[in-house]
Symmetry: C2
Subunit: 423 residues, 2 copies
């Protein structure tokens, strides 16, 4: 790890060697991986990336805390598409909007970036079993990435996890413990089990390597924008690890001279579960909240990474905005109808927040914004149907079709385009 | 369309100009797009591809029947990963196996390749509305790709279509007609409606451009294998359009001098619905069958593209193999557990067929095989759970966990790896 200096507690500043199974500081604080940016700047530049043919998160190896001898895990993670979303921008009244569809990762969420890193670090630690607790996506991404690498997994999820995520876990051969309780309960049980059996710990707020994987999402966004920083990057916030990772990636690029301006973060939480945004908005320390939202991935009443997340939002001069479940469902329809992107509820929450921030005048319509879709809507089909409704059921004949159209006020225009004869 | 000569009926040989809204021949036969391979060979080589930075299906434009002035549609389709699957090959007793995970396309199936092409041709035809009937994936891919391009869609699916596909359709803003009948009924109603309202027709067996989109899957596989043809390419077969497209791609590459050997196809159908394979196995003309399989995407009792499909299997000296629903569910678990790939039932049917073909001695264990996973398992979560079972539900305390483990005979080993102290 040529460019890694070590790890440092974000709370007390204590320093640690970057061994592969680092967890938290003795003071309870979360660790942050430290890099030698002068050396990265000397050895590595956007030109090297332009010549790199590895179209995955591993193209950013100088920014990643893995041993030079470690090979990347089997699944192809990262380099998800960044779409210029002019039609959606038009509807929102925003100058320029990009959608980063991270639901196109191998297990269909951004969390694959962290899990791929966890698999490498677990192998470096000599572990053959990895465990984690998760609202669902960290779990299914760990299960898939570990299965492909031949590692066993023990996964703890709250019983409320959507069926799609549970199906992934089971198909990937994990031992799945569905916990009849909250995410907090689930986390505590996983912690006790990891302590008892000594599995490699992939809990994102415990293991400081994971946000290093997550940060590749912003490394990619900036490369896809040819190193021109947007004004804002919007994303949903639950545990706080993803927004912390996103900010770390931006700061890495800034420190290494790849970009000369830092975007501001738009941190979006659900109204019914917004402990971190409430802390930003009130200036008070964060307090636990109920987990009252249908966006399961961010239904986190006791965020596990509050320090890094709050620091990221504040240091970026960020915007904290909360959205209702109805606004989340509406954003699912909006992204689908205008851009052909189907996100899960937490996946579209960032976009719902962009809309809300514009309505509240928190950001200017002249802005350039990137919104990260963090997970695929196929993971939570029930809420997809809830957002968009069931289709019309019709008997297989034309009269039945005409009647069904009439009942719904659907009047298809007969095509007026020029008929092109066959011959 | 510099390299397109025209279209030719596969039944009567009648030739047509390649106008954008071509359908079938006056004799009822299906058309095939014809290319000037000598010109392609003169202008285009693997070296050009090595220098091409478009990592999507559009890197193969000289092989695609679209106007030079047409821009690709918005969603990033193609260049899905090809994984070397050594762990799965080991379990099957096969020398070399690759998995092409086409479930990682934007709407999570191979059909995005055809729908992207349909969107381009519809725009060339000046159409603002596209319609199709489909078992589900062609539908959801059309809905997503058309939404991103700002085109309206009318989609006909059988009522049995899995919820994941229906949710996609609704989220993408399609007018969805769920037909209370078989796929055959659905197809006929769509045909009548398209005739009545003159929408652009994306029915794959009617519109000859669509298999030209699908063929990009084999163009990619061969490029990913550095133009070294495998012995076999395995895939599931329903309507017959996908296997016809796969073969077209291989023949294109052969005719243009990119490869010097043609792989053989392994055509896999469900035992309960195998009209095309039955024709191959018996040497008799194909006959309709019941649609008796849980693999909805290939539950096609009256295949719409029998001529091209049967020709492809025969011309490639292909292998026809049928698998039971239990073998399909087993392949879902096998791919998930060994490779971290979650395919829908029809998506893993190709892999189930590879296993079966080895067991029956139809292919040699020394072979090199590529198996195409045609759709993501998240589209059909119900069958994912059916394949892999529900997780254990546990109260949030250690005693409950220990009891649940004991009841299932799970004895986690305590980690023996070296403890790395923090300090």
């Amino acid at each position: 790890m040529r460019y890694v200096l070590g790890a440092k507690c974000v709370k007390c500043g204590k320093e640690y060697a970057a061994v592969p199974d680092l967890t938290t500081c003795t003071c309870g604080g979360i660790l942050d991986i430290q890099y030698d940016y002068a050396a990265i700047r000397r050895d590595f530049s956007p030109k090297d990336l332009a010549a790199c043919s590895d179209w995955s998160m591993w193209r950013y190896r100088p920014f990643l805390p893995v041993e030079e001898r470690s090979s990347p895990p089997p699944l192809r993670v990262g380099w998800s598409p960044l779409y210029r979303a002019d039609r959606l921008a038009g509807e929102l009244g925003l100058n320029t909007l990009y959608i980063k569809d991270d639901g196109l990762n191998p297990t269909a969420s951004l969390k694959d970036r962290a899990s791929a890193l966890a698999v490498v670090k677990a192998r470096e630690a000599g572990a053959d079993t990895i465990a984690c607790s998760s609202t669902g996506n960290a779990a299914s991404s760990l299960a898939g990435n570990a299965a492909a690498a031949g590692l066993a997994t023990y996964i703890f999820v709250p019983a409320r996890a959507p069926k799609g995520k549970v199906a992934q876990l089971r198909i990937f051969g994990s031992t799945v413990i569905s916990v009849d309780g909250s995410y907090e309960d689930t986390f505590e049980l996983s912690k006790a089990a990891i302590g008892r059996w000594g599995w490699y710990n992939r809990n994102a707020a415990i293991n400081p390597y994971l946000s290093e994987g997550k940060k590749t999402v912003t490394l990619e966004i900036l490369e896809q924008l040819h190193w021109q920083a947007p004004d804002y990057i919007a994303l949903s916030v639950g545990d706080g690890c993803t927004i912390a990772g996103a900010w770390k990636g931006l700061k890495d690029l800034y420190a290494a001279g790849f970009i000369d301006k830092l975007p501001r973060l738009i941190a979006v939480q659900a109204e019914g579960c917004c402990p971190l945004n409430r802390a930003i908005q009130t200036g008070q320390p964060w307090q636990p909240m109920e987990e009252n939202t249908l966006a399961d991935s961010i239904a986190v009443g006791v965020p596990r990474n509050p320090d890094k997340a709050l620091h990221a939002i504040r240091e970026s001069h960020g915007v904290a905005v909360n959205v209702s479940d109805e606004e989340i469902l509406s954003a699912m329809r909006l992204l689908g109808r205008t851009q052909g992107v189907f996100g899960e509820p937490a996946g579209v929450t960032g976009t719902a927040g962009v809309k809300k921030a514009l309505e509240l005048g928190l950001i200017s319509p002249d802005s350039t914004v990137v919104s990260i879709v963090t997970g695929n809507g196929l993971k939570d089909v029930q809420n997809g149907i809830k957002a968009a409704g069931e289709p019309m059921l019709v008997k297989p004949d034309m009269d039945a079709l005409l009647e069904a159209f009439a009942r719904r006020g659907i009047c298809p225009a007969t095509s007026t385009r020029k008929e092109t004869a066959h011959e």
